[in-house]
Amino acid sequence: MKVTFNWLRQYIEFHWTAEELAERLTMLGVEVENVQKIGGEFEGIVVAQILTRSLVSGSDKLSVCRVQDGKGERQIICGASNFKPGDKAALILPGYALPLKAGEKEPFVIKVRKVMGVESHGMLCSPKELGLAEEAEGILILRDDARVGQSFAEYLGRAAGDVVYDLEITPNRPDLNSVIGIAREISALTGNPLRMPEVTVKQDAGAPEGAQASALRVEDLVAVRIEDTELCPRYTARIVRGVALGPSPDWLRNALEKIGIRSINNVVDVTNFVMMEIGQPLHAFDYRLLANVGQASPLSQSGGSTLATMVIRRAAEGEKFTTLDGQERTLTSEMLLIADETRGIALAGIMGGRNTEINAETRDVLIESAHFKPTNIRRTSKALGLRSESSYRFERGADLAICDWASRRAAQLILETAGGALAAGVVDAFSKPPEAKQIALRHTRSAALLGVDIPADQQTEYLHRLGLEVTTQPGIAPTTGVRTPHSTIFRIPSFRVDLKREIDLIEEIGRLYGADKIPSTPPRAAIGSNAYDAVHDEIAEARKCLTGLGLHEAEGQTLISDLALRALFREREDRPLIALENPLSSDMNVLRPSLLPGLLDSLRHNLSRKNERVALFEIGRVFVEANGQAQEGRRLAFAVTGPRYPLFWSGNDRRASFDIYDLKGMLEEFLEQFGLRGVSFAVQPECRGPYLESAAVLLGGKLPLGEFGQLLPAIAKQYDLRDAVLMGEWDFDALLARRNKARSFKPLPAFPSIRRDIAMFVTERTTHEAVLNAIKQAKPQALEQVELFDVFRGQNVPAGQKSVAYALTYRQAERTLTDAEVNTIHEKVIAHLKQALQAAVRE
């Protein structure tokens, strides 16, 4: 919300600069988001009249003048000669700056100075100095009707300087959506009294043209019928007849325009002004457009029966209604309408209707000042997508008690700005004014919570300044809170809808005392406990392993596109996805069931920026529907593409690209270091889901942890990826559950080992795992380790076969093995390999 410095000062006295005020409000919880100085370029420049003029002794050009600035006389030295006593001119006072002109960086500030021994207390300005002309001879001579002492800006018809504050009003404080509301806060801070504008209205004094001399009463003109008092607990109506619709006077137009409200006409502007002033939204209807009133001089027939009836009712389901903005809207029976006997005329608390709006022909105005149930206004406003200054205030909670005051204030200002006559009285449909809330405050409680001892009477004083009154009658039961011998009961003013219980009062005390004055106490020692704490560390440990392998950690979007997901997993994407009901776009319409789409997006991003070598991992949550329940689980995923090594300048394999064994190596190293034993790999059919070739990763031979493989080239192409993309995804929760964190020391071997190599031809179909199994089947004693060190195809290798070479390490823990012993064991292994694998062992 916007307020201005000058507007605030109409209701409260304070002695702060514009900047100080911003600081004070901010620290009070009314955050000033922006401060804008407006007008003011002629600050300190006033209309002055030259009284006398004579030459400075010793000069033939400079004259010394006595001028009247409206407050008193002062002596001015002037070098111009185009004026005479009696002329009026623009005088800039010492301490003020001339308007900045193009090319100037520092404003020129006028000071009291001596010229040839004579003091000059200001300067008479030329049009050039005022920035009003490029070149000028002599000073600017003003029109005769210029009022001495008037600000020069005002003389020019420009708005005087002011400061506009853009305030962030928190949703709990609807009372601050008004200038008086802010002034009340300043009053509480300073202790200076709030000056409410005096509202006195002459009721139907000067009878308007065409009206009868006898005073008309408003109840003769209109009746109010509230059909749903829950949604509308109060409705007041006043009528001003015979207004002269026209533009608003400058003060009104300026006041509104400064805070960003467009001036429309004097009547509408008044309703807006009062809303901004006190926070009560008002609506003005053209009375003559109401049903039963008609155009034919209705006021003359006011013999007895009421002419119009304002009906506050729910709309009929599907009822059509055209709001002020020209939009036709379809209403539901949950929405509240202001209607006359025949049709809707305003969407209650949100926007008036086109059919009864103030227009150029309007003569008689009905002022509505009512109260509506906040939740209903909010729902209607949301449902229709229609928000207004009015709905904004009602949905947060307006002041039920201020309706009549605001109505009178509007009537007063309409009479002042648009003339006319006010029908006597008010129709105020207010079935049951609610009891004021009474809240008990234990002063010790505030000290206990705030952590500072504020004397009880000081606490009471703070609340008193905010408009809370101490209830002294004994026996009164507070609405909420505990009544103890040391508590005080406060009556809550109707505008403070946010004050509901003791803690709300404590907050107010803390606010006025000043958060900055509450002493900080050092952190207290205590030990917290939560099962997740250890898991957090385990995840951190996994990250440490993975980054050590050269993978960068990625953070992908949780929200992804279902189309991209299906394009990636193809026929396998049959997981029940969790979709957003209100997605921002189709690019982000489901929760990710896999981390891979995000990683591929990141790969694409990197490649498009010529980062060719990309190796990423992510540990993150995925979401699927399982048995009608949302299931969240943690996953680990890798994706790598591009050169295996950063660019280097020598070496045979320096240009090698990542291949599947790079990825598998990372996975194996990670799983081992992270404490997972008994991991095996099962080949999956080709072209399965996103993979060209892939393998399932199993724990204990059966528990699936996930899979990895090479991305189908066709899909890689869709992601603009040229090199092979190797990727995989695993169930991280399962890894956490199955990891073995226990570590124990195994003594380092005391006796030497003996290595024997085997090189052999086996068929292409013989897997490494088959070789290992065959070796195991030979049950070789003292075999410590089997390592593959070469796989070769091509020259000298028979077709359909491959050459593989293994190093077998033998060792006995308690003694040194002899060559002869090892040879015997090794022969057995070779014999078994020949038989089991039809291997041709090369001697």
């Binding site: 709300d504 952190p523 917290g528 953070e555």
Partner: protein, 355 residues
């Protein structure tokens, strides 16, 4: 020439040749020529036996001394030449780039989270966690933000399509009053980590001392300062006699650890439905001044609202506490001078390697 007189010239000759040998092969030839079995010096030594008895001691001592000397010189020259032989033909260019095997880096958001976690753990906090898919009870109602509360406007929520059967657990008795029996409560993505507060308090009795980092979601279009997914960290402390002073003291401690001792903090009264009094925390440092601002908003905090305690079954007359929360991205952006939040989710390796 006497025997003794022959020694010195032979030695000099040998030393000169040793020095002149330019490689190990040449050196070996020199050694053979002088110290080999048919070498000149060996031959001289053989003559020793034929000397008169009275000359033998002096000559013997002299010959042995020279032999030791020559052998030492030979060894020196040999290691000199060996060293020379092991040097590459051209000297190594140490300005050439090394063969790097780059480490991966943890994500900057992880790094900031870990720093915050470490600071809190030092003062006795532990890490807690909760689901990202929530219902309105945990995300709003239990946090004193009932339906139709304007405070819900500030957190535009992603709702999820309805699940099939009875779904999320609703352990709180209050929620059954809010939701008619049998009707599925709407599911949503949590808009803040504050939902973890409720989950933790429902499960455990005070004192509570937790922090909860995690992803949260708001229905904001992505731009330089918004991403629909972002990360927060929440702190909650519940105990007997906890005051605003405690809140201030801990928050000041944490942010000074995180952002440096020179930062100034201020607590500005604000409104959050689940805390009262509530504050926004602004900070001021050389960094904010460089950005042309006196104060920059950092976090929100406050004393846990008694209604929240009542919602989880804690007695607000016995327990009080504070909570605070802030965005991880925001801290990372401030700390590293990052100007666009989207960079965190693009995973550009040039970006990731910087932290």
């Amino acid at each position: 020439m006497s025997f003794v007189e022959e020694i010195e010239p032979l030695k000099e000759g040998a030393l000169t040749e040793l020095k002149a040998a330019s490689d190990l092969a040449a050196l070996e030839q020199v050694r053979v020529r002088f110290l080999g079995s048919h070498g000149k010096f060996t031959a001289l030594m053989k003559q020793l036996g034929s000397l008169p008895k009275e000359e033998k001691p002096v000559a013997g001592r002299l010959v042995n001394q020279v032999k030791v000397e020559l052998e030492a010189a030979l060894a020196d020259r040999k290691s000199e030449l060996e060293l020379k032989a092991s040097l590459p033909k051209e000297p190594t260019d140490f300005t050439l780039p090394g063969r790097r095997r780059p480490l991966g880096k943890t994500h900057p958001l992880t790094q900031v989270t870990e720093d915050i976690v470490r600071i809190f753990r030092r003062i006795g906090f532990v890490v807690a966690d909760g689901p990202e898919i929530e219902n309105e009870w945990y995300c709003f109602d239990a946090l004193n933000t009932p339906a139709d509360h304007p405070a819900r406007d500030t957190q535009d929520t992603f709702y999820l399509n309805a699940g099939q059967a009875s779904s999320l657990p609703r352990s709180a008795p209050q929620s059954s009053q809010l939701q008619p029996a049998g009707k599925m409560p709407p599911r949503l993505l949590r808009t803040h980590t504050s939902s973890v507060q409720i989950r933790v308090m429902e499960k455990q009795q005070p004192p509570v001392r937790i922090i909860a980092p995690g992803r949260v979601y708001r229905r904001d279009n992505a731009d330089a300062t918004h991403n629909p997914t972002f990360q927060q960290i929440e702190g909650l402390y519940v105990d007997r006699g906890v005051t605003v002073g405690d809140l201030k003291g801990t928050v000041e401690h944490v942010f000074k650890e995180l952002l440096g001792d020179e930062v100034k903090l201020r607590f500005r009264p604000h409104y959050f439905s689940y805390t009262e009094p509530s504050y926004e925390i602004d900070f001021s440092s050389s960094l904010t001044r460089r950005m042309g601002k006196d104060w920059l908003e950092l976090a929100g905090c406050g004393m846990v609202h008694p209604q929240v305690f009542e919602n989880v079954g804690y007695d607000p007359e016995i327990w009080s506490g504070w909570a605070f929360g802030f965005g991880i991205e925001r801290i990372a952006m401030i700390r590293y001078g990052i100007n666009d939040i989207r960079l965190f989710y693009e995973n550009d390796v040039r970006f990731l390697r910087q932290f």
